[in-house]
Subunit: 683 residues, 2 copies
């Protein structure tokens, strides 16, 4: 679909000029400087030549086919220019000009007008208010963009909603030593959007990793679907900006509303298989590694150092970021001992010593590559003035050709040994300035390996009678449905719950004692706080008394009677159907943990079995479920099963827009769980 | 004391040679290349000239005074060389050679031998196994070091225990655009140590900030004392490596032992006023800013951007790191509105727009500098190809001369506008590649401002009868003292505690009912778990029964009777006297919070009033003390007072090597606290 955008034959530039400070001039210059393989057609009615290229008065005068027309004229002229492009048969317009929907009011109208003009002719619109595109494929070499990072080939592609952020990513990727494959900054995204570009990059065989800057998302389900498909083959990395504004969203008293915008981003990315980064620099370092090296098959890293300090930093950072130090086989250790100098340390990390020769590096790399306990190799290298460091680099570079495992390198050096870094990079090995950066990049690679595995997990199946639940929901009015109906729905999904019966008029149903009386009203959210729960009623008399009392305090309300459940660890499970996203699940420990300490985990349904397990283990207070120190271990298996059932309900019953199971009591291992209170809100 | 080391007149080099890959050669070359202002004396019995300098057969042959002799000969020869240096009257030997205490065994003996030789002559030893020193003061320009980062003037000094880490810091500081003042990497530190160097840097007027790499600490109280003094004037920044090995230290069942090595580092640095960083790159960015700019007087930052995306990243990072967006005065906003283009956004962050002129930048800087609501200024700048970016840089540079507030800048640019960055840097303004880096550096500056305020806080005074407590302690044997004695000591410091009386033989003392019976034995740590506590005994009969039962189960043990305290929020307060450090205090919520969730705060005594307040608020579970959502607010004031009393005990009673107040019950606001159980261990 976007082939003509990213691999155009001819590019016209409206607003091309000889003024070196104009966007039109810069786009023509970039196209020319970086050797565009197609034709460049400057359009300017007042010039005959621009930057040595023949200029055409109008787009109609262009002799050849035009796949892209870059537009950098005044905003009010853009709709007309788009119309002219349509008449010429232009496939894509890249509108650099700003002053459209981002300004509101007249700008939005102008954007509608240009879209209308485009639609009439079947022209696709990229932008407006955008930087443009680049493709470093030597068959194309297109730089239809007014930004300034040179076009160098690499294997990581970049999508940025903000031009400034996309530029920041690309520029610093270059500073780190890597080129890029395709670059797309699409501004207002009035037509060609992020998802479409993502899909294109997913299909581009030379894009090995994708880095994104995201501010907002339009079609989240579409984003998730595409990413899940792409991320099985190539990593997708993202930063999201505007985090704190979002975090300011007020947290209402209702637990479901703890799902805040930024946690939601985490949940969406988690489901999509996108690796989120908080810091652009870390994303760039990881993207560079992921685009050049194979994915480690596990977390066990073998470290090679020729100086103590940086090696220790690497251990710290690797372990703090979830990696493990590989345990070398005896054979590896023996051969290292035989081959390295006596001062060398031959366990992990291997300290080959500052005087290590190229042969020492080659030997160590070969041994670590052969050792089945090693999943990846990290070299932290300094360039001692008394060693032939370029020789070391050549040795690493040559040895890397035979490696089957990923390798990344950090080098402390300066211009005296600049060749060192270049030689290693030319072998396709990422090189970083800091051992910390290298360690974190490696950790990100392992994280991606786990994402790949996760994306293969099938959704867990839990049974459940969808038809029966649907019938109950149909019979209920919109809003919070009656408690008894809510419990019936749980029953349809075989969810263990406290035996609960509605009170019809003044007739109290029979349940075993001790029993509980609860008010049942959609207006009362925190029943206990408002005196709407009477616990531990020992006999019929106590129940009657409580009923009389509560009926007086809640005139006209409904009530339910419930068995009194034995105590256990209380947890909360929630569903909230988020606009444009779908059902988001929440889990946390009851009492103060969710409400006051905000200790919760989120997931987008459906869950795999492993998802349920991770969701339970992700909260900080998980040790309380695990038990120990006098606490009995809780029935985590039953809890995971419950989460899976809830996930299935969330998928199968779209009428449920909110559900809170609060509390759910988790009993000791083998003794199950029981839902004590359920609030379900129907659309 | 170290003046001759860092400002030497003459430097001799033993092991100087014409072999370009030898350390001796490189040191001579560095001294020469970087224009040492004193005399360089290569020592080599076989050469007459090295690198164009006259070589001397022995140090005795050197005509002038020698302040430093760099030694890079075989390790076994070093003691003899030191002796020769002594005879010549050398003040400092810098021993680059390795193979000493770091190797153990013979190496340690060799180190002792060289120290012995040095002591005989009053020669100070720097190293062995060390890189050396540098001083960029143009009056000195000494590069007595075999490393490779060029000598460029700056205002931040570096101390690194590991040469590789020190080099990593210096090299990347240079990559960021800054020189350094003094550099010291002292390896084994057999004589000249970290504290001494720190003190020297503290007194060096041109050192504005100090960056450290620390692996281990020898004289921690000395370190703390010096740092507290220095950090009032200049910031001290540090990374510590070897964190994860330390974290592996087993956590014993005893709460006092939750004080793990790495938390201890945090507590030491906190007390010392040292800013700890987890990532070297972040420390370097902050050190650069702190060495060049004044300290912000508060957290309110004014941001100026000429592109949207990077500005938004800056907001996120500033706020996430504790800064606040300054609220501009109406006057500022009006004048910005009048002076900038209509598309500009004139609230914080100011978006001057990509087309902004040098005048726009100058105006904005001036207005933000004048606005009393602004404490610091952060510019995130891109270099649009259609703007005279060097003009912008000149404008920022000129305006900065009139600023009274700190300013830091991030620039997205490439070599086309390389001058931009240089121009800004030359004005003494730190420039970073990423808005995140700039934001975090600014946040670190504000953090340092808070440290300065903190160092002025006097220790809180709490009263207390030291003599009486001392007497009780003298009367007790070493180890855990009896409960009654422990409670008496608390009473001496006016610490509110449950009324507690010892049981003498079979005679149960009189306390009001309900009462509690507790076993009192140093062998029983978790009394409740082991059935050694009988609660809520309603009358004499119940007490007698419990006593009979417990005496049977704990033959020979002592017992106490205690008033039964009403329930409240339980907290734990501990002291542990750490070897070579002093008393470390611990605070956390009782029950699962300390034991299972490891939610604790640590401080080194003595506490200021504000320390006590921060110590309470630092734990994650603080909201439970604060109250809300049905929980009554706890008496935090009483809790803070208790911490201050404990801090005073920790200071005044060095015989106490461990103390656990567990639980302490905190009652609702205004109702105080009560210690229910106290374990005190005497040395």
């Amino acid at each position: 679909m976007l082939d003509s955008l990213f691999r155009p034959r001819g590019v016209a530039v409206m607003g091309a000029s000889n003024n070196p400070l104009s966007i039109g001039h810069i786009v023509v210059k970039n196209l020319k400087t970086y050797g565009f393989k197609g034709e460049i057609y400057p359009i300017n009615p007042k010039q005959t030549e621009i930057l040595g290229l023949k200029a055409y008065p109008t787009i109609q005068d262009v002799p050849g086919p035009v796949d892209i027309c870059c537009i950098a004229v005044k905003s009010v002229l853009v709709p007309q220019m788009v119309d002219e492009c349509g008449k010429k048969g232009v496939k894509f317009v890249i509108i650099h000009t700003a002053g459209f929907r981002e300004m509101g009011g007249e700008g939005a109208k102008l954007e509608d007008a240009l879209l209308e003009a485009a639609r009439k002719h079947g022209v696709r619109v990229y932008g407006p208010n955008c930087q443009g595109i680049m493709n470093s494929d030597p068959d194309v070499s297109v730089y239809a963009n007014f930004t300034f990072t040179p076009l160098n080939q690499g294997k990581v592609s970049i999508i940025g909603q903000s031009g400034g952020c996309a530029e920041m990513i690309n520029l610093n990727l270059r500073n780190m030593g890597s080129g890029f494959r395709i670059y797309a900054s699409h501004g207002n995204a009035s037509d060609v959007n992020t998802n479409e570009i993502l899909e294109y990059l997913g299909n581009d065989p030379e894009t090995h990793a994708i880095m994104m800057h995201i501010e907002s998302m339009k079609d989240t389900p579409g984003f998730i679907e595409r990413c899940r498909k792409i991320a099985r083959d190539k990593s997708i990395l993202a930063i999201r900006t505007g985090r704190t504004q979002a975090a300011a969203t007020a947290v209402s008293s209702h637990t479901g509303s703890l799902i805040q915008q930024d946690s939601l981003t985490d949940a969406v990315f988690e489901r999509a298989g996108v690796m989120r980064f908080q810091i652009a620099e870390e994303m760039i370092a990881a993207g560079y590694a992921l685009s050049t090296q194979p994915v480690p098959s596990g977390p066990n890293v073998g470290i090679i150092a020729n100086a103590g300090g940086p090696g220790i930093i690497a251990i710290d950072e690797c372990i703090l970021n979830g990696l493990q130090l590989a345990k070398f086989s005896d054979e590896t250790k023996k051969k290292l001992r035989d081959g390295l100098i006596p001062e060398a340390y031959v366990d992990n990390p291997v300290d080959v010593a500052a005087t290590a020769t190229p042969e020492h590096f080659a030997l160590t790399l070969d041994l670590l590559n052969k050792d089945p306990n090693v999943d990846s190799i990290l070299i932290t290298m300094v360039t001692p003035p008394f060693v032939d460091c370029e020789g070391l680099a050549k040795s690493i570079s040559e040895a890397s050709g035979k490696l089957t495992k990923p390798i990344i390198v950090s080098v402390l050096t300066n211009e005296n040994w600049a060749g060192t870094v270049e030689i290693i990079r030319k072998a396709g090995i990422p090189v970083y300035n800091f051992p910390e950066t290298a360690s974190r990049a490696l950790a990100a690679m392992v994280r991606y390996g786990n994402i790949r595995k996760r994306l293969e997990e099938p959704p867990a199946q839990a049974g459940g009678d969808k038809a029966r639940a649907g019938k109950i929901l149909s019979a209920s009015k919109a809003g919070f449905i009656p408690q008894a109906a809510a419990f019936d729905i749980l029953a349809a999904y075989n969810i263990p719950a406290a035996h609960t019966l509605p009170v019809a008029g003044a007739n109290l149903p029979e349940v075993p004692f001790p029993a509980v009386l609860k008010v049942d009203s959609e207006k009362i959210v925190h029943k206990s706080d408002e005196g709407g729960v009477a616990l531990n009623l020992g006999d019929q008399e106590a129940l009657q008394k409580a009923f009389k009392d509560m009926s007086g305090r809640f005139p006209g309300a409904n009530f339910v009677v419930q068995e009194q459940c034995p105590a256990g660890t209380e947890v909360i499970i929630g569903i909230k159907r988020e606009e444009g996203i779908g059902p988001v699940m929440m889990f946390g420990l009851g009492g103060v943990y969710v409400e006051m300490l905000k200790d919760v985990s989120f997931r987008l349904a459906p869950l795999s079995e492993a998802d349920a397990s991770r969701m339970v283990r992700e909260i900080r207070s998980f040790p309380l479920l695990e038990g120990g120190r006098g606490l009995e271990p809780s029935d985590i298996t039953a809890l995971e099963k419950l989460l899976i059932k809830v996930s299935q309900m969330a998928q199968e019953l779209p009428e449920i827009i909110e559900m809170d199971l609060n509390p759910v009591i988790v009993y000791p291992e083998g003794k199950g769980v029981k839902v004590v209170d359920a609030r379900i809100k129907k659309q």
